[in-house]
């Protein structure tokens, strides 16, 4: 394929890059204890939460920004970011009538209509716009099943005992630099609680949208699946096209109690910056789940956006017979950098984990898989299988694999395999010979490469992911 077609195709516009004209209530940039107090007051939070935020903030001040990851970026000025921005609106009443029609139109444009009758069948959506949740759909239907699905702020008001019990139980505020920052200033996010033995009647989904400029988004998601419960949760993200970098530092905590199953899928399409690397979201995310006896946590992610991706969705396999899975497709094009992977910590007996990671690098993108499989002494008969494949499209990009394997129990069986290659001329020739255009051939091959991961996604998302990959990548073969 000629370089011209490549360039033309990789220059496809970022479709979600528009800005919504909405009046918002934004804090001036800067971070100190007063800002946190103000934020907490604005959200009407109980005292324990403010205390927790302040502890996190004080701890954060003592921490250093990590520098071990294989990404380069201009230093972030944490005082130049506004830590709260919300569209001006009346308090939420559970009805969409109260939501600014401009915002509703935004979600419609993004293909996420919030009117329930128009919604994709059987998906409940919590829409987070900048720092606040603007709407949550299907709440009544979920409530009948006993499922709590609401914005984090609402959970703090309505179910403080659950929040108090589980907040920080998987990712403590002292966990890492970005998690500490998030703990201090998180504004909103989603909260899910599935009671004992309940299979959530529909897919739950949160759609994150950054709109305001010069703000950071710090959302926090907490999902608790009580004994024997099952839930599938989806997350999508977009942001407007701007020349400046914006910080997104989220924390996701999953708690799967005995016999519970949590499936967490992400399609991340934050604005990746332009072809020259201007603008784009800095995505520094901490995601971790804890699986108790016989529980299963499955992470599936499709990472196509962000200028920088730094995330390692992890599973602590604490209970005996628990299962952890990680399926990932990470794509870097232009000047995008991704340093992503997972951690599987085997503590319980007969714990199993599977890691399938597919990295695709195009343009001048840098893609790193960084993962840890740790088998502790107590983890009799632990099993892990890891496969990391990288596909290189072009000679200016890079693919890196940095797995760590630590085994302290002889009965463990741990396997790691990785390969790196490009799309073979013979493969392309074979398709072309059969009348398939170059572009379609590449798309087919890339989709085949990612198939193992896509088949783990819920159907609607799988379609979206394939489209996204097509947009981000089509034809970028040198």
């Amino acid at each position: 394929m000629t370089t011209d077609t490549l360039q033309e195709l990789t220059r496809r516009p970022y479709e979600a890059g528009f800005v919504t004209a909405v009046e918002s209530d934004t804090f001036p940039p800067g971070l100190n204890e007063d800002v946190i107090r103000q934020l907490s007051e604005k959200k009407g939070e109980p005292a324990f939460l403010l205390e927790w935020r302040l502890k996190a903030f004080r701890h954060w001040l003592t921490m250093k920004e990590p520098n071990w990851q294989a990404v380069k970026y201009t230093p972030i000025d944490y005082q130049a970011i506004s830590y709260y921005s919300a569209p001006k609106q009346k308090p939420k009443k559970g009805s969409l009538d109260e939501v600014d029609p401009e915002i509703l139109r935004t979600y419609e444009k993004l293909g996420i209509p919030l009117h329930e009758q128009k919604l994709l069948q059987n998906v409940a959506v919590d829409a987070v716009f900048d720092s606040v949740s603007v709407a949550t759909t299907f709440k009544d239907k979920l409530a009948k099943a006993g499922v709590i699905f609401c914005s984090f702020s609402e959970a703090v008001r309505e179910h403080p005992e659950l929040v108090k019990k589980y907040l920080g139980s998987v990712v403590p505020y002292s966990d890492n630099f970005f998690a500490a920052l998030n703990s201090a200033v998180f504004s909103d996010g989603s909260f899910v609680y599935i009671p004992k033995g309940v299979r959530c009647p529909m897919e739950l989904s949160t759609y994150f949208r950054i709109n305001a400029a010069e703000t950071g988004q710090f959302e926090r998601t907490l999902i608790v699946a009580d004994e024997g419960a099952t839930v599938s949760y989806l997350e999508g993200c977009t942001a407007p096209q701007r020349d400046t970098n914006q910080l997104h530092a989220a924390v996701v905590e999953l708690v799967a109690l005995d016999g519970a199953t949590i499936k967490y899928s992400t399609v991340q399409n934050w604005y990746p910056g332009d072809a020259e690397g201007r603008g784009g979201i800095y995505n520094f995310v901490t995601k971790r789940g804890i699986a108790h006896r016989g529980a299963k946590i499955s992470w599936t992610q499709v990472e196509t956006g962000s200028a920088i991706t730094w995330k390692y969705p992890s599973v602590i396999l604490k209970g005996d017979d628990s299962v952890g899975e990680f399926y990932s497709v990470a794509l870097t094009n232009n000047l995008q950098q991704a340093d992503t992977g997972t951690k599987m910590v085997h503590i319980g007996k007969n714990t199993r984990s599977t890691i399938v990671s597919k990295g695709i690098s195009a343009g001048r993108g840098q893609n790193t898989y960084r993962g840890l499989v740790k088998v502790l002494k107590s983890a009799e008969n632990a099993r892990n299988y890891t496969q990391c494949d990288s596909l290189l499209l072009g000679d200016k990009c890079g693919a890196h694999t940095v797995p760590y394997i630590e085994v302290k129990n002889a009965s463990a069986q741990v396997e790691h395999e990785a390969s790196t290659s490009k799309i073979g001329e013979d493969q392309l020739f074979y398709c072309r010979q059969r009348g398939i255009s170059q572009e379609d051939a590449v798309s087919m091959i890339v989709n085949g490469f990612c198939r193992q991961v896509f088949k783990e996604l819920p159907m609607e998302f799988a379609v979206e992911a394939q489209k996204l990959l097509g947009v981000s990548l089509e034809g970028s073969v040198g």
Binding site: V407, S411, T420
Partner: protein, 498 residues
């Protein structure tokens, strides 16, 4: 950690003061080593490259260079945790005094004390009680240089039978006679600025060997360097081996490090080997590390490969409380080929650490890597292998495998296979696995009347043999098999009685 660093800085300064008459360039190299060591400090677990390495046996020791170690005062202190470079180790106070209160020359010490203790703490049980017997057992036919406790032992060495075009010299002689050559060679491949232990080695540069091959030289007999430590003084040996292979030359170099069990004390060997391969040159490098169980061994091999050159490294790590084996190969010309093989077999509380780095800096080079570990008792094995493919190093073909066999519940393995790829037209793959013996294979053998223990031995040997068999049949392989037999009972071919 700080005090250990202070100790080595001190040791180096004393050494520099003692050897004040050294040529200016050598003083410069040593001073630079000292400065770099001071700048970097000794590594700790916080350094990514040493993340899985427990440096306690090293930090706990006060080792002294050969000239000082014997004078270091009571050996007990040394055994508990102090190390000295060679010129200090054999200094003032007689060893035997420290040990038993009587002065016995090292050769007789064995006889006097009985072998039991010595053998237990040492990997190689001494033969007839003197070093020449050990050399006879471990040595290979052909030219060799033998070093005892960090010092060249001319009476045990032999330079006869050197093929035409091949020069082998003790580094001491070369420092005097080939100053200009050495000045251009020392520190070219192994950078003191990047490795603290290389810096320490440079600061104490004195002993070692220079091996040169004139263009077109084909040496059929292996060249052997034998480093023996007796364990009766806390010696710090810092050999530096320099190899320059001219265009289209071919040779085999065998480095053997062995503890010979006079005393039970800890020693510290910090070896650095620098190899430059000319276009189309070929080097087979073998490293047989069979240090005493209490010993600390740190060895780094740095290779730069010219166009179409071939390099094969076979590293066997059997001994040492702490063993670090590093192999760094860099391709400087197209068409190069590198094979890095390794086998580490640990028991007790041994910590066997392996670090390899392949730098594919130019197109069309091939590398193959296989490292295997067998870990018993509470032993810990670590592998960290990096394959770096630089931009434009197209048509690179690289494969890396690391397999670890855990024989006991308390054994540990850490693996870090790492790929860094910046070119697109490449084939790179790596794999790593940790596990125990296959239950089905064991069952198969047992169902045919082979007792459990025997079946386990057979499978363990089979696992290890893959690396041993990569060594071409001949005297080198026999030595490897001999050492492995001591380490893995039953690994020598023996009749299976069902």
């Amino acid at each position: 950690m700080t005090s250990a660093l202070a100790h080595y800085l001190d040791v180096a300064q004393r050494f520099h003061a003692r050897d004040a008459s050294a040529p200016a360039w050598l003083k410069r190299v040593r001073a630079e080593g000292l400065a770099q060591l001071e700048r970097q400090g000794l590594p700790s677990n916080r350094d990514e490259a040493w993340k899985y390495t427990n440096l306690a046996p090293l930090v706990g020791g006060t080792f002294l260079p050969p000239g000082e170690a014997r004078g270091a005062g009571p050996l007990a202190t040394a055994v508990e945790g102090t190390f000295v470079p060679p010129s200090e180790a054999r200094g003032a106070s007689p060893v035997a005094t420290a040990m038993e209160g009587t002065l016995i020359p090292p050769g007789q010490a064995l006889v006097a004390r009985g072998l039991a203790t010595a053998v237990e703490g040492t990997f190689i049980p001494p033969g007839a009680g003197d070093l020449s017997a050990v050399v006879a057992r471990l040595g290979l036919p052909g030219p060799r240089l033998v070093f005892v406790d960090g010092r060249l032992a001319p009476e045990l060495s032999s330079l006869s039978g050197l093929p035409r075009g091949l020069t082998l010299k003790p580094l001491r002689d070369a420092l005097r006679e080939d100053g200009e050559t050495l000045e251009a060679l020392v520190g070219q491949r192994a950078l003191a600025s990047e490795h603290a232990f290389t810096a320490l080695n440079a600061a104490l540069l004195e002993e070692g060997a220079l091996l040169r091959l004139a263009p077109g030289t084909l040496s059929e007999v292996p060249v052997q360097l034998l480093f023996l430590t007796r364990g009766d003084a806390p010696v710090l040996a810092s050999p530096r081996i320099l190899v320059v292979a001219g265009e289209s030359s071919e040779a085999t170099l065998v480095e053997t490090y062995a503890g010979v069990g006079v005393g039970p004390g800890a020693t510290f060997t910090n070896a650095v080997t620098e190899v430059t391969l000319g276009d189309n040159a070929s080097l087979h490098h073998y490293k047989l590390q069979a240090e005493a169980d209490a010993a600390v061994h740190v060895g780094a091999l740095h290779v730069r490969q010219g166009r179409d050159s071939r390099f094969a490294s076979h590293a066997f790590s059997f001994g040492g409380a702490l063993s670090r084996n590093e192999v760094h190969a860099a391709f400087a010309g197209e068409g190069g080929d590198a094979t890095l093989n390794g086998l580490y077999v640990g028991r007790g509380t041994q910590h066997l650490d392996n670090r390899t780095a392949l730098d594919h800096a130019v197109p069309r080079c091939t590398s193959r890597e296989l490292y295997k570990g067998v870990l018993d008792d509470k032993a810990r094995g670590t592998f960290h292998g990096l394959i770096r493919v630089r931009p434009d190093a197209q048509r690179t073909d690289s494969r890396q495998q690391n397999r670890n066999l855990l024989l006991s519940e308390s054994a540990q393995a850490d693996a870090r296979p790492q790929l860094e790829i910046l070119a697109d037209d490449v084939k790179c793959a790596h794999g790593a696995a940790v596990g125990r013996l296959d239950a089905q294979a064991l069952f198969y053998l047992r169902s045919r009347g082979i007792p459990q223990a025997e079946a386990e031995r057979l499978l363990t040997q089979a696992f290890a043999r893959e690396v041993v068999e990569a060594v071409p049949a001949g005297p080198v392989r026999e030595r490897v098999e001999g050492l492995l037999a001591l380490k893995l009972p039953g690994s020598a071919r023996r009749e299976v009685r069902a």
